[in-house]
């Protein structure tokens, strides 16, 4: 008993030391990074949270890489201050995201870029709203992100907006088609789009012939869902999901000889760059995306080239959103006349006023983006069709 006790006692002491060491480190790190910068130049601390490990880490890493390219470009041309960008891992989990945000606070974050995923973003937005920190997310598209928070903005379009546009596009292109959907019913993004899509379809007097769900993106088998859609005779199948499950769905559909028109949303973007993916499976798939890496737009081409040079892969929509978001932060910051020595609250108020007051931005994910006071962006989803392994206008 005693020996055990002593050993456990040592554990207690060690852990307490660790906790306090952490408290102390955390307390001082905000200051140290200020004084650590060699020159006296001003620094704008932009912090982000996103999944860098775990199942959704691909999205987090893409946003991070896109934002880093933008930050480098800005730092190369801006003379008055420098942007310091730091992204902390949140594993796409609300609790970890709030932890990550607090770590960023200790670092001295002034503007929050993020979070990447919806659940994390809603959690972090609750904190930034109370702390008065300006936040703009590249990719968290649920309307819960911005709802009731004047300091939070989105660069991507919202889920309901996407669902509605998808419904209208399908109604316009295929007025007589039987429409079905397969979506992830444990994912806010997927369910958000689906619910809006279904409501819009029904408002136009059209019932879905089948609405099949699956519980998890790591789910393996979609054959039952596809069989249900096939036997319901669906000609158009909406896939408001991410591309990883979609790649399996496309393969399984091809295996069973089922060839409807698959209609994806921005989550499907990236499917063509999957290593080992047989792009012929995606031939004829329609999707809505704000970003086309094959576009001949000069700005896009330049970004794509830089991204490929840096990371050896094509940027997807998440990377493009990350890139644009960093620029939106930068330009809003300048437009608001902020300086880096202002308090977070002053910066927040000034930037909110600036971004909603006639600010407009041309980026790689859209031209002439403006923001309304409810935090949503005005840009129209573009429907493209996959042809010859590329996005083409339909």
């Amino acid at each position: 008993m005693k020996k055990e006790f002593m050993k456990k006692f040592a554990v207690v002491m060690l852990s307490l030391v660790m906790v306090f060491a952490m408290a102390a480190c955390g307390g001082s790190s905000g200051g140290s990074s200020d004084s650590g910068s060699e020159s006296a130049e001003a620094v704008l601390y932009v912090g982000a949270t996103g999944p860098l490990t775990g199942g959704a880490s691909f999205y987090g890493n893409a946003v991070k890489q896109g934002a880093m390219i933008a930050a480098e470009e800005i730092n190369a041309s801006e003379t008055e201050f420098r942007i310091e960008f730091r992204m902390e891992d949140d594993e796409a989990d609300g609790e970890k995201a709030v932890n990550a945000y607090h770590v960023l606070q200790d670092w001295g974050v002034q503007v929050v870029l993020g979070s990447v995923t919806t659940g994390s973003c809603v959690a972090v937005a609750g904190e930034t709203f109370e702390d008065r920190v300006f936040e703009i997310t590249p990719s968290a598209s649920s309307s819960d992100v911005t709802n009731g928070k004047d300091n939070v903005f989105q660069v991507c379009f919202t889920d309901p907006n996407q669902g509605k546009t998808a419904a209208n596009t399908i109604l316009e292109l295929y007025p007589d088609a039987k429409v079905a959907a397969i979506y992830n019913n444990s994912d806010p993004y997927s369910t958000g789009i689906f619910n809006a899509f279904k409501a819009e379809m029904e408002a136009n007097g059209k019932e879905l012939v089948e609405a099949a769900t699956y519980p998890d993106d790591t789910n393996a088998d979609y054959s039952a869902q596809l069989t249900a859609c096939k036997s319901a005779g669906a000609d158009v199948v909406l896939l408001p999901i991410y591309y990883t499950p979609a790649s399996v769905i496309l393969k399984q559909a091809a295996d069973m000889g089922y060839e409807p028109t698959f209609f994806g949303l921005d989550g499907l973007d990236g499917i063509l760059d999957m290593e080992g993916f047989d792009t012929s499976l995606a031939e004829g798939v329609m999707l809505m995306t704000p970003f086309n890496p094959w576009s001949d737009d000069a700005k896009v081409a330049e970004f794509v080239k830089k991204y490929q040079d840096a990371y050896g892969e094509l940027p997807n929509q998440f990377a493009a959103d990350g890139y644009d978001t960093m620029y939106v932060i930068y330009e809003t910051f300048k437009a608001a006349g902020c300086t880096t020595d202002m308090s977070n609250e002053e910066i927040c108020d000034a930037m909110v006023a600036a971004i909603t007051g006639g600010f407009s931005y041309d980026g790689v994910t859209g031209e002439g983006m403006t923001w309304s006071t409810d935090g949503t962006v005005s840009k129209d989803p573009v429907v493209v069709v996959i042809k010859d392994g590329q996005y083409q206008d339909r």
């Binding site: 099949a212 699956y214 790591t218 088998d221 054959s223 069973m256």
Partner: protein, 295 residues
Amino acid sequence: MIFLTNLINGLSLGSVYAIIALGYTMVYGISKMLNFAHGDVIMVGAYISFCGTSYLGLPAWVSVVLAMAVCTALGIIIEGLAYRPLRGTGSLAVLITAIGVSYFLQNAALLIWGSAPKVFTSVFSGMGSSIRLFDGGLTVTWEAVFTLLIAILIMILMTMFTTRTKMGKAMRAVSEDNGAARLMGINVNSTISMTFAIGSALAAVAGVLLCSAYPALMPTTGAMPGIKAFTAAVFGGIGSIPGAMLGGILIGVIEVFGRAYISTELSDTIVFGVLIIVLLVKPTGLLGKKITEKV
């Protein structure tokens, strides 16, 4: 026809679960531990095979052998480093260590292969497109056919191995009574290592088959099938080789039928609900041994 399609899909999914469950059950039988890292060994096997075909340009079957070899080594290393020091300290401590190993493998895979999902090229892609019957009314993929055949083959081989060979008998002896087996001159350590080696080699096969049929490959690919296969192993009676096979197939079929005929929203609830009911009626699984308690 829809019924047949669903049945085939269920059998195909179920046979993947069955092969994974075989690995679970063998390891459980001998060391009485729930090896939660098993699902992640599957993922490693699939990645190795992917690298073999995509980066080294090896033929599919060579890459499968390579994956089996790597996983076998991995299984022995994991057992020796992480589980052996805790042998005889109760299954909970090893369970937590297994979870640690699972985190380790997932995060190591993330660092090595990156977070972007990869699309696994089916090892049966050389066989041409799927088999169409009844004018295309029913399609059966080669993956489904081979997965089922391989699962049955493995089950037969494993049953023969454990009943006919010396090593197999040693395994059964150790799983029956570790101490008595030692007294009979069986090298318990090497027998357990052997079991992990075989279990991990099976995991590599399972990984290749899983990803051939459902091609998205990520560091977390093995997690959910791992849990389902664990369920399957318990369902059939953990420790029993035919039980794992039966449990795996049934879980696969129930999952697909549940989705097809009851509700896609609640398919997992249906699978787990059936499991609960079966265990309440037969508390040691379908083919599990009745445990008599000693006072």
